[in-house]
Amino acid sequence: MASILIGMRGGPQFWAALVMATVVGCNSVPARFMGKAMERIGDPVIPVAQKEKDPVVDRTGLSVLWAGHATVLIQIEDKVFLTDPLFTTTAGMLSKRYIEPGLDPASLARVDYTLISHLHFDHFSFGSLDMLPAAGTLPIPLGVLAYTPVLAFREIREMDPWESLEEDGVRITAVPVQHFSGRYGIDIPWMRDRGYTGYVIEYRGRTVFIAGDTGYHPEFFKDIGRRFSVDLALLPIAPIEPRDFMRFAHVEPAEALQIFDDVRAKFMVPMHHRTLLQGFDPTETFAVEQLEALAEQQGIRERVIVLEVGERREILKSTIVIPPDG
């Protein structure tokens, strides 16, 4: 109020400071990102030609369908898991999709568990959660309940790192990752150190690690590798640039491969790339091209499974023996 009154009285220092603050503000990463987002508003969204009509299959050991960004449909035998569903045209009103979702939520007859990694708009989308079939369980990180509207889930379960949810043979464990939380900017002071998590899913001898969004933290991931025998790691690989700004909260492809090694997973599927405007990577495929080149160099290309948006892949065959008459 005081500054407004001073400004109204025409103090030149006030206006000079305001102009300088605006100039500095306009050169900040968030301001530049907003400018980039504005440039893209009219751009067409790339359609996904082939979408699975029946994404949930009768028989599989472990399969994944990448719907874009951090949205992955995971099926282990008869159980269906969905991570960070995002089916809307933007995330947070501003970050527009490059490519449409590779999965029609209306085609999902059921989802047993919908896992939310953190509060950010591209991972916790109210509109997308409304598109999912009712029922199922919604694991969320500690602190996210205060942001969760009435939703048609059977159960909403807040989970602290290393806390597990066990039911019907499924065990889901929240695991620590390195990120930050808060959704509206104002809430960062009290949500900075909570409200984000990774998950490990265990069912019928299959184990999947979902990193959500994370920066690189060797102790966390090596610890996960010691505690679990991970078959598949779903790891983010973008945004990369500007690196100094992104480093704490977002791994680049080389760091993602280090996590892959730390958690000692058999296979890796990259995600959190190629879908939304995020950061200042020069092209949508910048991160995945780096990942493929690095995986090739390290001789692990066959274990790094790069999916197209909408592509489904069976990672492991079912081991369940069905009796001849049944």
């Binding site: 109020m1 109210f126 959704r183």
Partner: protein
């Protein structure tokens, strides 16, 4: 008019106490220290009525809000510190406001109001757009008119555009409100 600073001081003290009671440890101090300075940011208001019209600033507080849009595992009641989803996912609130105008409205530069406001989520559970409907009682220009209120809020419930009309007095008030918490 000399009572205005006292009223504001009392409201702030009550807000602090209410906010502390509502916020959960260990987030209390962070929440409160973020909330307090934001309350100083004024909203813009334009009063249009006889004998004159005036542009002004407005400061609002929400002593109590009942949210019907949030999950049932948390309390639906908010006192002063209202996190944005509590309001925009569907709620009804009592808010109190003080206005200061750039020129005299009737006999005074100041106004006070109490509003019962409902927020109906329209898009993305209200995060993108809500419909605002309410009733306001003002004390302004030596009169006490009652207003019907209609408006929308957007940008995560932080920007509200409300139109208020008092038919008997033919007064219109347009408010562009910045509602953080």
């Amino acid at each position: 008019m000399t009572k205005a600073p006292t009223i504001i001081a009392v409201l702030v003290i009550v807000a602090v106490a209410g906010g502390q009671a509502h916020a959960q440890a260990p987030q209390n101090s962070d929440k409160l220290s973020t909330w307090l300075p934001y309350q100083a940011i004024p909203s813009l208001t334009y009063y249009s009525g006889a004998p004159n019209s005036a542009f002004g600033f407005e400061w609002e507080l929400a002593p109590v809000l009942y949210s019907f849009g949030m999950n049932r595992q948390i309390s639906p009641w908010y006192f002063f510190i209202v996190e944005p989803p509590g309001r925009f996912t569907g709620s009804i609130e009592l808010n109190l406001a003080v206005q200061t105008f750039m020129r005299k409205v009737g006999s005074s530069y100041f106004g006070f109001s109490g509003t019962v406001m409902g927020f109906v989520p329209l898009i993305e559970r209200g995060e993108h757009l809500t419909l605002n409907l309410g009733v306001s009682l003002y004390r302004v220009g030596g009169t006490t008119p009652v207003f019907g209120v209609v408006g929308v809020s957007t940008l995560f419930g932080m920007v509200h555009l409300n139109l208020k009309h008092s038919p008997p007095d033919n007064i219109w008030i347009t408010s562009l409100e910045w509602r953080v918490f």
